[in-house]
């Protein structure tokens, strides 16, 4: 009996008293035990909190009638290295880099969240419809996804942004958010469709159908709870990709319009100021460490969620 540990022990009285855990609660417990994922979550919490604090700081300044810290040049000679007055230093135009990094965090995280939201909305709808309808509609919808997968999408995004470059700030921001979001729902649609296909044949779905449930009820009551895990994982892993794409577009000069900043525009400004005589390291290190922390945190949390919802898949 060397493998007796693998045989489930009969439930003792203590277990009998404990209420049965739902799959969601089990996943949550597995997630909480994953140290890397929890560290990622803590990292994310710090970055998000500081970005919110930066936005609040700016708002307070506006309400008091003071100049907005992220766009106001400070007196003196710049760029200055980090000091007590400016913990992150200042940029070549004399603006406080701490304020700019925090505001930039708001924009970068916003782009990521917008992409995740678009991918959840369109991708889930597309995947469920395609998987549940089956047959002709499924073929057509998945063919569309295949063709769009084949498109070198970023080329079209660049084209879109370049061609609308002379529009107002708001239109440009909307185009930027939409363009990055529009790229990211394809993977979600495929993942959700795959799940729906297997759920459709599951016994509890058959039972619900036999009891007379209609399609909307089956989808909402039976399928969606089982789709939450994969959707959550896919959305979490969409965010870092969107943030990277935004920074890439920033480098090409297509990011958020100045004087607004994102981590991408800050990093690409820092690279423009790069020269072998004077090393303004803080210009690059500050925004990039925030960017790196966010991307790592998101990747850890995404991996943790995947392991938590599907323990066999590791």
């Amino acid at each position: 009996m060397s493998n007796s540990a693998e045989i489930p022990q009969p439930a003792g009285p203590a277990d009998a008293l404990r209420p049965a855990l739902s799959p969601m609660a089990l996943a949550l417990r597995r997630f909480r035990r994953n140290r890397l994922a929890m560290a990622g979550l803590a990292l994310l919490a710090i970055v998000v909190a500081s970005s919110l604090a930066g936005i609040a700081w700016n708002h307070v300044a506006v309400m008091r009638g003071q100049p907005e810290p992220y766009r106001t040049p400070q007196p003196g000679i710049h760029p200055q290295p980090p000091s007590l007055e400016f913990p992150f230093g200042t940029d070549p135009l004399g603006r406080d880099l701490l304020a700019r990094t925090l505001i930039g965090g708001g924009i970068s995280i916003g782009v990521g969240l917008a992409a995740a939201t678009v991918s959840i909305l369109i991708g889930t709808f597309w995947g469920i419809t395609s998987g549940y309808a089956g047959r002709g509609l499924d073929t057509v919808m998945m063919r569309i996804v295949d063709v769009m997968y084949g498109l070198p999408y970023i080329l079209l995004v660049i084209l879109l942004l370049v061609l609308f470059a002379e529009q107002t700030i708001w239109l440009r921001m909307v185009v930027l958010f939409m363009a990055i979001g529009g790229v990211s729902w394809l993977t979600m649609a495929r993942v959700v469709r795959g799940q729906v296909l297997s759920l459709r044949e599951a016994e509890f779905v058959q039972a619900a159908r036999a009891l007379g449930s209609g399609a909307p009820r089956i989808i909402v009551k039976e399928m969606l709870p089982n789709l939450t895990g994969p959707i959550l994982v896919c959305a979490t892993l969409t965010v870092p990709l969107a943030i990277l794409q935004e920074s890439f577009l920033s480098f090409l000069g297509l990011g958020v319009p100045p004087p607004l900043a994102s981590w991408g525009t800050l990093a690409s400004d820092a690279i423009e100021a790069l020269n072998p005589v004077r090393v303004y390291w803080w210009l690059l290190v500050m925004p990039c460490s925030f960017l790196g922390a966010t991307l790592l945190g998101l990747n850890f949390v995404g991996d943790g969620l995947r392991d938590a919802f599907d323990p066999r898949a590791r």
Binding site: D146, V147, G150, L151, P152, I154, L155, L156, I158, L159, L160, V162, L163, F164, A165, E166, Q167, P240, L244, S247, F248, F251, L252, G264, A267, S268, I271, L274, P276, V279, L284, C288, L291, G292, A293, L295, L296, N299, R314
Partner: protein
């Protein structure tokens, strides 16, 4: 198999047509005209310039004319570079440069990523494992232009080991290829590591070890072949990331490749050059994706394409 390839080739047509149509419509929906910068042109000159680029004709005629110019490989003269044919004078010399760079980067990503993944899976929780995974985290968490600039600053400006930029000698490929390879290499290392860890606990690995095979044979011949399948699935996205990454890396290292033309041509509303460049990238991507799918069948005999 042949049937499958033919069907996939047939799918290229709607994909490429869709890309061409979207690019064409975007180009015309956008405000601004190619000749807006040339202020003070006499109306006759403007009219003849417009006629040269079919801009006086209805949209559907332009659509067909530009399409035919590209399909027949005849090309059209560029707006930004007068008297230079977009296919023969601009893209034909630039394409081999970008292709060489892309292939080098992909090769580096595959070799470094696989080696790091195998090394860290062979001794989990060792110093090698943590070292490789920290490296992978840096690759995943920084944009390629930051990595490229830091490499440039350290190895070209401070240490002066390698040239700052340009194209022609092998030493000029090293830094840009590494910068492009960083992200895919990091992903591949993680994929290989998880794949290897899973495979290494399988029964046939225990058998291989039990019959006394040397450890490197177990790792490389038996485990890696199975652990490598997910990497193949990632190659399509990896190629796309290297293609798009080449826009910024070519700019940073002053490499005369196709990437630089892409953004420039869109900024200058150079219609013939935009369309030709978009289609060149599109063809590359779809051909590469087909090659990847065929590679699956070669690596995993269980996969059959009907």
């Amino acid at each position: 198999m042949l049937h499958y390839i033919l069907r996939r080739l047939l799918y290229f047509i709607p994909t490429l047509l869709a890309i061409y149509t979207v690019a064409f419509l975007l180009m015309h929906a956008a405000p601004g005209s190619p000749f807006v910068q040339e202020k003070g042109l006499p109306p006759e000159v403007l009219a003849s310039r417009m006629a040269e680029f079919h801009l006086d004709k209805p949209l559907w005629q332009q659509y067909l004319l530009y399409g035919w110019d590209i399909v027949s490989l005849r090309g059209h003269s560029s707006i930004k570079y007068p008297n230079r044919n977009v296919i023969h004078d601009i893209l034909a010399p630039a394409f081999p440069v970008s292709l060489t760079l892309g292939i080098c980067a992909l090769a580096i990503a595959l070799v470094v990523g696989t080696a790091a993944g195998v090394a860290s899976a062979a001794r989990p929780r060792s110093l090698t494992d943590y070292g490789a995974m920290v490296g992978a985290m840096i690759g995943i968490s920084q944009p390629s232009f930051v990595i490229a600039s830091v490499l440039l600053a350290v190895f070209a400006l401070c240490l002066r080991w390698l040239p700052v930029g340009g194209w022609g000698s092998p030493s000029q490929i090293v830094l840009p290829a590494i910068a492009l390879a960083a992200l895919p290499a990091a992903y591949i290392a993680r994929l290989v590591r998880t794949g290897m860890l899973e495979v290494l606990s399988a029964d046939f690995i225990r058998t291989a070890r039990a019959k006394g095979l040397p450890e490197h044979s177990v790792l490389l011949d038996h485990a890696l072949r199975n652990a490598w399948l997910p990497v193949l699935g990632y190659l399509g996205p990896a190629a796309a990331s290297i293609f798009t990454g080449s826009f910024v890396v070519e700019k940073i290292f002053a490499i005369p490749g196709v990437g630089t033309h892409f953004v420039d041509s869109a900024l200058h509303r150079d219609h013939p050059l935009i369309l030709a460049t978009v289609l060149l990238y599109a063809v590359l991507l779809v051909v590469f994706n087909l090659a990847v799918d065929l590679g699956y069948a070669w690596l995993d005999p269980r996969i059959r394409y009907e």
